[in-house]
C-alpha cells in the first residue's frame, strides 16, 4: 500500500490522526496533515483505509498495487 495526501486540499480536520495515529500527524502551526509513513505495515492498512474514507476533504489517496 502506498499513501499520498493532497496537502492543498487538507482542511486540518485531524480525523485521520484520530483513526491512524501511527501513520498521520498534523503540523503544529496550521494543522495540515503530515504523512508519517507512506508505506505502512499490513497491520495498519485497515485503519488507513478508514481514515481515507472519513477524511472530509477527500485528500488521502491509496494505491494498493504499489
Amino acid at each position: 500500500m502506498k499513501i499520498t495526501v493532497e496537502e492543498e486540499k487538507c482542511c486540518g480536520a485531524g480525523q485521520c490522526v484520530l483513526i491512524a495515529p501511527e501513520v498521520f500527524d498534523q503540523r503544529d502551526d496550521d494543522g495540515i496533515v503530515i504523512l508519517l509513513d507512506a508505506a505502512p505495515a499490513e497491520d495498519q492498512h485497515e485503519q488507513v483505509r478508514e481514515a481515507a474514507a472519513v477524511c472530509p476533504a477527500a485528500c488521502i489517496h491509496l494505491d494498493d498495487n504499489a
Binding site: 496550521d30 494543522g31 478508514e50 474514507a53 477527500a58
Partner: protein, 397 residues
C-alpha cells in the same frame, strides 16, 4: 436476518458514496446501485463556498473520487434521475424517468435543499449555495457585481460573505443574531468572528431580518431590512437554512420529522437506513434525536450504516465536528455549543490570532473551538469523548 445481496443508495454525494465504498471495503460483493438527482459525478460541497466560489479551483477539483476509483467500486451509477416515490414495505423506489428500483437494503442519502425566501423566486441576481450549479451561477454574477448582500448569519452565510469580500466586492452580512454564528460558536468566539469580518471590511447588520426585496425588470436592485434600513445590491445571497430532501418520501410510510427519523443504528424501517444531512437519528450519548449538517458526519455515519447493513452495526455516537475557513482563519468546532455553556480560552491567545476555547456545560466540557489551531483543538477534543459517547437516559423535560 438473511444476508443482504443488493443495496440501493439514493443520493450520490458524500454520505451515499461513503456508505457504498465502505460496503465494498467490508467485503460486500452483491449488487450496488447509486441513484442521484444530479448529473455530475459525486462532488464535495465544502469547496463550493470556498475555493470554487473564489475561483481558486476549477469545479472539477471538487469531484470526490477519481473516475478510476469510482469504476473500481463496481457499482451502477444512475445519475440525473431523482427518486420521486418510495414504499418502505416493498423497498421500491420510483424515479422521475419512470424507473423502478428495489434492493434488500435501501439507504436514504438525499441530503438537504436550500431554503429560499418567497420573495426571491424567479428574481435575477438572487442566489443560494447548495449545488455546483448554484456556485457557478453565483460566481458568474459576482464577477460583474459591485455590491452583494448576504442574508443569513450561520456558517454558510458568514463563509460566503468572507469569500465574496476576498473577491473584492462590497459585502454586507445580515442576520438575526448579535454576531454571526453565535448559535454555533457561543458569544465569545462569535464576537471574534464579527471583529474578523469588520477588520476585513464586511459590513455587519445584526439583529435584523429581510423585510422586502427591491427589483427592477426582474432583477434585484436592493432590499429593505426589518429596521427600515435600505441597502443597494447587485447580488443577494440567501443562506437561511436548509430543509431535509424528503419530498419523495411523502407516501413511503417512513416517519418524517425534520429529516428521516431513525433509531440509534440509523435504521428508519426494516431494510431501510438513512445517512448524512437527511438523517435524524437517536444519538444515545446525548439521549435525544440529532440531525447534523456537516461533512464529517456524512462520512462517519456512512461507515456505521455500511457496517449495520452487513450485520456488524453499533449505535452511532459521534462527537460532532465541522470546520469553516473565513479570511485567514480556520475555525474548528468539536462538539455542540449550548447557549448556557461557559467559555474559556485554554490555549493560545486571541491577541495573537491563535487560540482554543473550551465551552463548559452543566455536565462538563461539551465543545472545543480552535481559531487557527486545528491540531491543538483536535488534541483537546479528547476531553469531549466521554460526554458524547456515554449512553445517557433521555432527559425528561
Amino acid at each position: 436476518m438473511t444476508a443482504v445481496r443488493s443495496v440501493l443508495v439514493v443520493g450520490a454525494s458524500a454520505a451515499g458514496l461513503t456508505t457504498a465504498e465502505a460496503l465494498r471495503r467490508k467485503g460486500f460483493t452483491g449488487t450496488l446501485t447509486l441513484l442521484g438527482a444530479e448529473r455530475e459525478l459525486p462532488y464535495d460541497r465544502p469547496p463550493l463556498s470556498k475555493q470554487v466560489l473564489s475561483g481558486a479551483w476549477e469545479p472539477e477539483r471538487a469531484q470526490l473520487r477519481s473516475t478510476q476509483a469510482l469504476a473500481a467500486l463496481d457499482a451502477e451509477f444512475v445519475l440525473g434521475d431523482p427518486a420521486v416515490g418510495f414504499d418502505a414495505d416493498s423497498r421500491e423506489v420510483t424515479t422521475a424517468s419512470g424507473r423502478t428500483l428495489t434492493a434488500d437494503a435501501v439507504v436514504i442519502a438525499t441530503g438537504v435543499t436550500a431554503r429560499t425566501l418567497p420573495d426571491q423566486r424567479g428574481v435575477r441576481g438572487t442566489h443560494v449555495v447548495r449545488n455546483l450549479e448554484d456556485a457557478a451561477a453565483l460566481r458568474a454574477d459576482l464577477l460583474s457585481a459591485r455590491r452583494v448582500v448576504v442574508i443569513g448569519d450561520g456558517v454558510l452565510g458568514a463563509e460566503t460573505a468572507a469569500t465574496a469580500r476576498q473577491m473584492g466586492l462590497d459585502v454586507t452580512l445580515v442576520g438575526p443574531q448579535a454576531a454571526p454564528m453565535t448559535e454555533q460558536l457561543g458569544p465569545l468566539v462569535a464576537g471574534h468572528l464579527a471583529d474578523l469580518h469588520l477588520r476585513n471590511g464586511v459590513e455587519l447588520r445584526g439583529g435584523v431580518l429581510l423585510d422586502a426585496l427591491h427589483t427592477q425588470g426582474g432583477a434585484v436592485t436592493g432590499l429593505r431590512l426589518s429596521d427600515g434600513t435600505e441597502l443597494e445590491a447587485d447580488v443577494v445571497v440567501t443562506a437561511v437554512g436548509c430543509v431535509p430532501a424528503t419530498d419523495w418520501l411523502g407516501n413511503s410510510g417512513l416517519n418524517l420529522d425534520n429529516g428521516v427519523v431513525c433509531d440509534a443504528h440509523c435504521r428508519a424501517a426494516p431494510g431501510v437506513w438513512a445517512v448524512g444531512d437527511v438523517a435524524r437519528w437517536h444519538h444515545q450519548g446525548l439521549g435525544r434525536p440529532v440531525r447534523l449538517e456537516n461533512r464529517t458526519n456524512a462520512s462517519e455515519q456512512g461507515l456505521v450504516v455500511a457496517a449495520d447493513i452487513l450485520g456488524n452495526g453499533k449505535p452511532y455516537l459521534p462527537v460532532p465536528y465541522f470546520w469553516t475557513d473565513q479570511f485567514d482563519v480556520k475555525l474548528q468546532v468539536h462538539g455542540i455549543a449550548s447557549p448556557v455553556a461557559q467559555a474559556e480560552v485554554v490555549e493560545g491567545d486571541p491577541v495573537d490570532g491563535r487560540f482554543v476555547v473550551r465551552l463548559e456545560g452543566p455536565l462538563g466540557p461539551e465543545c472545543v473551538l480552535g481559531w487557527n489551531m486545528p491540531k491543538q483543538a483536535r488534541v483537546q477534543r479528547a476531553d469531549l469523548v466521554d460526554y458524547y459517547t456515554r449512553p445517557r437516559q433521555p432527559v425528561t423535560p
